[in-house]
Symmetry: none
Subunit: 236 residues, 2 copies
DNA sequence: CCTTTTGTTAATGTAAGGTTAAACCTAATT
DNA sequence: AATTAGGTTTAACCTTACATTAACAAAAGG
């Protein structure tokens, strides 16, 4: 099979500008889905898998940041580029906190945008080839469905997991029996590594341990100063 | 564990601005090497491993782009951020072509730079997990897993090792049956060779001997004034 | 011997992790 | 507008893990 075009979600309320941009991107071999506001953007995001999101910051109903946060809850990896008219410092900072990959001030040159897109895609390509699209895990007698965010014990009633619980358990599961470095979880899930996020993470470890208690063969061990290790005994 | 600070190469010809920026970065826990021009920048780059390069574009003798190209020839991965006074489109494009990770126009807000650095480092954090060196050793009837920091006797329950215990035993294992000079451990693990670190090391030797007691064929011998020797009897 | 080096144990101080509850925030509902 | 609910962060307090230092005993080696 030939290489699939990259899919871009473009959320931009200005119909003229949006359409022009969409056409321009499509001319450059990207598949583009254009949403006219934050609401619609989120709906479309849920329905499909995108390689990149380009979000206007100022939109009616739901601004770009809010949308980005919702997107991040569903998907921690997809790159996000913000478009903004004003280059307010707080806005930029806010953007990076939500996990922006880049930032563009309107009006911008479309070629520049194209280069940024290329650069980001390249990073993704080299970056996380490995930690792929894996969403289902067997953890001892548990089944974790990371896409639907639930945890089942012995095929019984599923326990719902919050986004953070889910992401953390997923990261641990990806490294089953191996070290999952603190730093990794903090940068990937919390997008910041400081005293508070670190404490927050500990709180979540406690929650997960509680969830995992039913199976005595499953445990989360700490490696002092390094990180955590999800071990499943009895299958070695 | 002594978490290593990230190392940044800063190449900036304006002495005032360069110094201020360097200090600011160092205050934020980065190790910064400051070069005053492209030539010097490349020399310093070759001499060390950096996690990030911040290059001024306009510099005498060798501009930022040329330097970036040379850096890319040596290292395809290290992230590069360009600083530039003028926001010429061609420059931006040129930058991305050379493989820039980001682009900042002077004057810029230092907090913004900090966020960009963080964002870039986060992206990098993902792939650095995998690199496997030598972490597993068989020592008589023991198995040392130096990555997960545990020691197993006869495949039984693993004993957890502290970072220092682990490093020291690993060094001994690397020199199994051979002399492991005091000085080596002190400079590699304690990063200082004086009376106190030396005594500290002796304390750790005592701890290791205790751990290794279960196997009578394994012992740590002292070579007076020289160092220690991890010997495994019965397999020669 | 008698000085230096090493062996060992215990005491101390600090940092990291564990746990629980309260505070906070935002979205959804009344 | 006020309330509620879910999710997350912050705070407080406690426990455990580590590394260093001190103190004293025992070997080594000139």
């Amino acid at each position: 099979m030939e290489e699939q075009n990259k899919k871009i979600l473009l959320v931009e309320d200005d119909p003229n500008f949006g359409t022009v941009l969409k056409d321009y991107l499509m001319m450059n071999d990207y598949d583009v889905v254009h949403a006219k506001n934050g609401m619609e953007g989120f709906e479309k995001f849920k329905k499909d898998d995108f390689d990149l999101c380009i979000l206007d910051v100022m939109m009616p109903y739901k601004d770009g940041f809010t949308l980005a946060k919702e997107i991040r809850e569903k998907n921690t990896d997809v790159p996000i580029i913000f478009l903004t008219a004003k280059a307010m410092k707080e806005d930029v900072l806010k953007g990076y906190k939500v996990g922006a990959d880049d930032y563009l001030n309107k009006p911008f040159d479309s070629e520049v945008l194209l280069m940024k897109i290329k650069a980001i895609m390249q990073r993704k390509a080299t970056d996380s080839v490995a930690d792929s699209k894996q969403f289902e895990f067997k953890i001892g007698r548990f089944d974790l469905n990371s896409k639907l965010r639930f945890l089942k014990f012995d095929g019984g009633e599923p326990t719902k997991l919050s986004p953070k619980e889910n992401e953390l358990l997923r990261l641990l599961a990806l490294h089953e029996n191996d070290l999952m470095p603190r730093e990794l979880a903090l940068t990937k899930i919390w997008r910041d590594d400081n005293y508070f996020t670190s404490r927050s993470m500990d709180v979540y470890i406690a929650k997960l341990r509680k969830y995992l208690k039913p199976d005595p063969d499953v445990e989360i061990l700490n490696i002092h100063g390094e990180g955590f290790r999800l071990v499943v005994n009895g299958n070695d």
